[in-house]
């Protein structure tokens, strides 16, 4: 083999896999952006929503033997209920408080949820049922694992569905209004409290779906909770309040992670998102699409 020739195939493969896995990252980022746009908070417990989704689904589908669609429906309902409860019991009492208080509250929430899941289900690795076909795709000479492709498709479908919902449905528009200017929305008759609860429920469900998919692709363990922290790089790159930014940034970060894993090894890959965060904050803090905040003096 001619070692001097550049391995284009490997590059193409890493790139394709990277871009496609970025779809999932974008989906998780969507959950973050929803809550940030809706309530101005970064939800550090996003990874724990993913955990809840995955563990609930496992319990329903594997432990209780329910059919997949029923398990999924129950999981989504359960996670939505938990999210609504959190919004009511934790976020609403803190609504007048400075941002750092709410931030710290979500950090505490993450800790409590993480510990709770691990305590109830133990820290063992469980094997999730295969939800996405593993059959690889082989366009040309490159090999792309089937799960990567299908996760991208799934993520794309969910993201598109949400975007359409927000743009065109009455509730979606109400949510956007409440996010943009809660007082005016209230005056116009929009139930701001309900839309905030809805925002959390949607974010929870998005996280749950992402969690189920990620767990089925890797394995079910408490480490799932930490996965979302890497997605913070995506939302910082994309801009905290931009869904379009989250999508683009998801693809970019997925690409960078894949290339790093391919050329520098798995261990480095783990810290790539954090390195990206610091680099972005250095050169372009508001991200690609984020709105620069102008304060009213």
């Amino acid at each position: 083999m001619n070692t001097a020739a550049f391995d284009w195939i490997a590059l193409a493969e890493y790139s394709a896999i990277g871009l496609l896995s970025g779809g999932l990252l974008a989906l998780i980022a969507l959950g973050f952006v929803l809550i940030y746009k809706g309530t101005g908070v970064i939800n550090f417990a996003m990874g724990e929503f993913m955990m809840l989704g995955a563990y609930f689904f496992y319990t329903a589908n594997v432990l209780w033997g329910l059919p997949m669609w029923l398990a999924l429906a129950l999981t989504l309902a359960a996670v939505a209920a938990v999210a609504a409860l959190i919004e009511r019991a934790l976020l609403r009492p803190l609504s007048g408080q400075p941002v750092i208080s709410v931030l710290m509250a979500t950090i505490g929430l993450a800790s409590a949820l993480h510990g709770g899941v691990e305590a109830l289900w133990s820290g063992r690795n469980y094997e999730m049922p295969t939800l996405l076909s593993r059959k690889p795709f082989t366009p040309g000479e490159i090999l792309i694992p089937g799960q990567v492709v299908w996760s991208f498709v799934l993520a794309a479908v969910v993201i598109v569905a949400f975007t359409l919902y927000f743009r065109f449905s009455k509730t979606g528009i109400a949510m956007r209004a409440a996010a943009s200017d809660p007082i005016t929305a209230y005056v116009l008759g929009i139930d701001v409290r309900r839309t905030q609860a809805l925002t959390w429920m949607f974010a929870g469900m998005v996280g749950a779906v992402a969690g189920i998919v990620v767990a089925s692709m890797t394995s079910l363990s408490p480490a799932l909770g930490g996965a979302a922290l890497g997605v913070l790089a995506v939302i910082i790159l994309g801009g905290l309040d931009s869904i379009a930014g989250a999508i683009v940034a998801g693809l970019v970060v997925g690409l960078v992670e894949s290339l790093t894993a391919g050329y520098l090894g798995g261990k480095v890959r783990d810290i790539v998102p954090y390195a990206i965060v610091l680099v972005i904050l250095l050169i372009r803090p508001y991200g690609l699409f984020g709105t620069r905040q102008i304060e009213r003096l």
Binding site: I42, L90, P93, L94, Q97, P98, V99, I100, S101, L103, M104, A105, I107, G108, L109, A110, S111, A112, L113, H114, G115, G116, V117, E118, A119, S122, G123, P222, L229, L232, A233, I236, L240, K267, D270, I271, P273, Y274, A275, V277, L278, L281, L282, P285, Y286, Q293, E295, L297
Partner: protein, 346 residues
């Protein structure tokens, strides 16, 4: 009941412990602290050492987060920096009165490097940046074998000065407690000067602070560096105390632990720091004791100790933020007010 509390000079008015009663209590406390190791068993002395270390670390975090409003999720990583720095120098025979400040300075230096880009922008971004730093530093701790011993960790020789070894907890106590006391008083002093006031101003209304001539970036960096310095010293003392350290100690969970400590104790107060440190040191011990107690009836309990601890930390943070945002300090103040006004009611 507090009566006859007159202040005849501005200096008296601004003293930390203006009344005679306060000064008497302080003297008694000093005596009690000095005599403690002679009356207590080894376990309690060890616990007291940990409380002292937690006080220093929590004080640093309170300076950054409680007083200046800069959220840091990477405090544990900075402790790690201090620990490894001290270990490196201690292995080469340096005495503790040099390694401790060096540990602090190294942590402060890293803090400046991290702070420089992150402090120009709003608080949310800083939280994420410090989180990223936490993970990156732990990665460095694991991979930089030659300096940190990698995953196996590092052995820390006894803290020593001029051949005198602090080889047991009893002796370490007499290093840790004075250092903690000094650093806590130092931190409190900050807020009697323009430096500390500037920190609080930045937290409360940074626009107003600018208009008063405060250079925001400079002071935020100072707060961040000071807080990291404290973390570094605490980390170094931790290394000396345990005599060995691995990267697995300085995790995100530890950063959250200190966040819980200052929220529970009271943000923006040194007394709150102490209360929070004591409380948070006791919580894992109580949990452990509780689990040992019920081990007969619930044999699986010990496995869930670690996650249950996480649940408890999380609940404490959320609970105090919602119900008692000023922390244990507020409860302490209420009790004091009761005594100041007794026999009259508040």
């Amino acid at each position: 009941m507090r009566i006859g509390d007159f202040r005849a000079s501005y200096q008296h008015d601004e003293a930390l412990w203006p009344t005679r009663v306060q000064r008497t209590w302080l003297a008694l406390l000093a005596l009690a602290l000095a005599a403690f190791p002679f009356g207590a068993n080894g376990y309690l002395v060890g616990l007291a050492c940990l409380v002292g270390i937690h006080c220093i670390a929590a004080a640093g975090l309170n300076i950054m987060t409680g007083y200046t409003g800069l959220i840091s999720l990477g405090h544990a990583a900075f402790m790690g920096v201090g620990c490894y720095t001290a270990a490196w120098f201690a292995q080469r025979g340096w005495p503790f009165f040099l390694t401790l400040p060096l540990a602090g300075l190294m942590a402060a230096a890293i803090g400046l490097v991290v702070g420089l880009p992150s402090l120009r922008i709003k608080g949310l971004y800083l939280a994420v940046a410090t989180l990223a730093t936490q993970f990156l530093l732990v990665y460095v701790f694991r991979e930089w074998d030659s300096v940190t011993g990698g995953v196996r960790g590092v052995n820390v020789p006894n803290a020593s000065v001029l051949g005198f070894d602090l080889s047991n907890d009893h002796r370490m106590y007499y290093l840790i407690v004075p250092v903690a006391a000094l650093m806590l008083v130092g931190a409190r002093n900050l807020f009697r000067t323009r430096v500390g006031r500037a920190f609080i101003a930045i937290r409360d209304k940074d626009i107003s602070a600018e208009v008063l001539g405060i250079d925001l970036l400079r002071y935020k960096l100072a707060a961040f560096a000071l807080g990291s310095f404290y973390a570094g010293v605490a980390g170094a003392l931790l290394g000396y105390f345990y005599r060995a350290m691995t990267p697995e100690y300085f995790t995100l969970q530890l950063s959250i632990f200190y966040l819980a400590a200052i929220i529970v104790g009271g943000l923006g107060s040194m007394l709150g720091t102490i209360l929070g440190a004591i409380f948070m040191t006791l919580v894992p011990e109580l949990l452990r004791g509780f689990v040992a107690l019920i081990a007969e009836w619930a044999p699986g309990a010990t496995e869930v100790l670690s996650p249950v601890q996480q649940v408890v930390f999380g609940l404490l943070i959320m609970g105090f933020l919602v119900f008692e945002p000023h922390g244990l300090l507020e409860i302490w103040r209420r009790v004091r007010r009761l005594f100041h006004l007794w026999p009259f009611r508040a």
